[in-house]
Amino acid sequence: MKKLIALLLVLVMAVSLVACAPAANNNDAGKATYAIVCKDASNPYMARMVSGFKDACKALGIEAIEKSPETTSADDQITIINELVAQGVKGIAIAANDAAALKGAIEAAKQQGVVVVTLDSDTEGSQMFVNQAGVKEVAQVLVDSVADMCGEDGGEFAILSASSTATNQNAWIAAMEEILKDSKYANLKLVETVYGDDESQKSTDEMQNLMTKYPNLECVCCPTTVGILAAAKVVADTADCKIKVAGLGLPSEMKDYVGDDKVCPYMYLWNPIDVGNCAAYMIKALADGKVGAEGTSFTADNTKTYEVLKGDTAATQIIVGPPFAFTGENIADWANVY
């Protein structure tokens, strides 16, 4: 009887698992499968990228799989890459959580004939980096918007970043510091770089502390979607606060705060849907051997043409587009898109 109960329990568990599983991907049907691996499960920015990727796969007649790691540490993404290789997918697009740690897993995948590209964040071993926007271009627009918001006479500004281990943010901040050395920006003073860890409570704390510590602060630059949201909220809720918020943010999240007379006159981002879209076409083109070496150009099946450039970490890269400005006029329209 006891054994029967135990057996029943196991059976019920197995059946319920099968029931709640989505239809298994059948790779033998001759339909190739591409997978996109996100940075984490809780970011709407990533979700938009996935939707672009899936659209492109659909147009190509390819199955698309979406995978998100449980934590932002690199070993979860390694596990996912291994799982995907075991399933026999033909291509993987990955937004890497570490610039070096995924190399072993990616090399092993490539040996099995899987095409591996990176998007959003690059890592060693990737064949092609589908770059949303060049690091220098992003840093340039951020510095320019800070300069604009501080006014002719310059002034003090601070950076509120994500966590200290976030690869993209660190690269942008380093590039910003480089640009700031130019005499053109001599009157801008970066007082401090703080980390809000992409948590609302910590970001709010850091933003408030910046305001307490630097009473002459004129602008805060947040190259992260969680950070800019918290910073804008703090400024908007503080009476008579003249600080302006610049940075990168999602229009749908920032709709309340962007506008000429609001805390954030304008902000930047690129179209994550396009980035995901382009990555899928890129995998297909690489698999078909249609992508040339550095210096050639590449036309995706969506008829957009990109130049193949030398990569910083990956072998080669393409840049999807310059950062796009969201202002009071267009924010409402874009808020419905992403």
Binding site: L17, D28, T72, T79, A101
Partner: protein
């Protein structure tokens, strides 16, 4: 955590422990088989030895830590600092390697750091016995990871994978079987033998069952606790070596959440956090249940969060099992 009535996994007192344990392992074996059958049905790719071992390797680092964690739980203690410890040890490995160019020195540094961190936990807990291990290791976990953050800043330490033999610690295989798996088997056997066949093991059971009684019976309680916490630290250092071989680059956010993973593995294996209960065989089976279930569900591309829901439900269902069984038995008796 101290043992108190009503806070043990099973309230059943009339049954002998051996009886319960035998049945618990039986249940685990059934679940293990169930998971495997399910995986085979779900995915045609599951029974590929090469990929299977690749993916087993992925959870073996956590499995290494689960072994000493079993000892800690057996004593009625808990260690929430293993994640921070692995992170700091791995950081030291990378830093020392990059400073001196010698991977051997790096490995020595990792082992030393791990052991020191473990010993520090043990020292605080044995000098201040009124402190709960949970709160102490919670604080040291933050400290260890914080030190790694201080050392690495916003950067990473890398380059370890350029040394072939070190890289192969994780990726190397005998046939299809990875070295890491063989080492795990050896470790598991050693840990199991110490737990079940030595005086030290029996003393651990005695402490977990009743600390005071054990002390009166002449068991050096604090000395054993100190040894076990230090041993856990050493194993964390050891695990961090393989972790580095896998990643080849260390940031201060690595090994996040390892503590709860290792504890879940032990608890599913029947080792009660109240102490004095469970076997190593159970823990090892549970390690593979969790690992392979994750892999199987990953193969059919369930999202990580859905997998978590399923793992949580499995954990609760299994620990509820003895109570449900008891209730059914009672109802039958009443019917008679």
């Amino acid at each position: 955590m101290a043992t108190k009535s009503g806070r043990t996994i099973s309230s059943v007192k009339s049954r002998s422990i051996k009886d319960l344990v035998v049945r618990w392992e039986f249940l685990l074996v059934l679940i293990f088989l169930g998971v495997n059958v399910m995986n085979i049905c779900l995915s045609p790719n599951y029974l590929n030895a090469y990929s299977l071992f690749t993916n087993i390797n992925n959870f073996l680092v956590k499995a290494y830590i689960a072994l000493p964690m079993a000892y800690i739980l057996l004593l009625g203690d808990i260690d929430l600092s293993v994640g921070g410890n692995v992170c700091l040890s791995a950081t030291m490995l990378g830093i020392v390697f990059n400073e001196t160019g010698s991977i051997w020195l790096g490995i020595a540094a990792a082992l030393a750091t791990g052991t020191l961190c473990g010993a520090l936990n043990g020292l605080i807990l044995t000098k201040f016995t009124e402190l709960a291990p949970m709160i102490v290791t919670l604080a040291t976990n933050i400290i260890y990871r914080g030190l790694s953050e201080r050392i690495l800043g916003d950067g990473a330490t890398a380059g370890m994978s350029k040394i072939d033999w070190f890289f192969n610690l994780y990726y190397g295989r005998v046939g299809v079987v990875p070295y890491m798996f063989i080492i795990f088997c050896v470790l598991a056997v050693v840990f199991g033998l110490v737990m079940h066949k030595t005086v030290f093991g029996r003393q651990m059971y005695a402490i977990g069952e009743n600390k005071k009684a054990a002390a009166y019976a002449g068991v050096k309680v604090e000395k054993i606790r100190m040894t076990v916490f230090t041993l856990t630290g050493l194993v964390c250092g050891f695990a961090s070596v393989f972790y580095c071989a896998n990643l080849g680059s260390v940031k201060s956010n690595v090994a996040e959440g390892f503590e709860l993973e290792a504890i879940s593995m032990c608890v599913l294996g029947g080792i009660s956090t109240a102490g004095g209960k469970g076997t190593m065989v159970g823990a090892v089976i549970a390690i593979f249940i969790i690992g392979l279930l994750r892999y199987g569900l990953g193969l059919i591309n369930l999202s990580g969060q859905t997998i978590r829901i399923i793992l949580g439900a499995l954990l609760i269902a299994v620990v509820l099992y003895p109570t449900i069984q008891e209730a059914i038995k009672n109802r039958k008796k009443a019917a008679k």
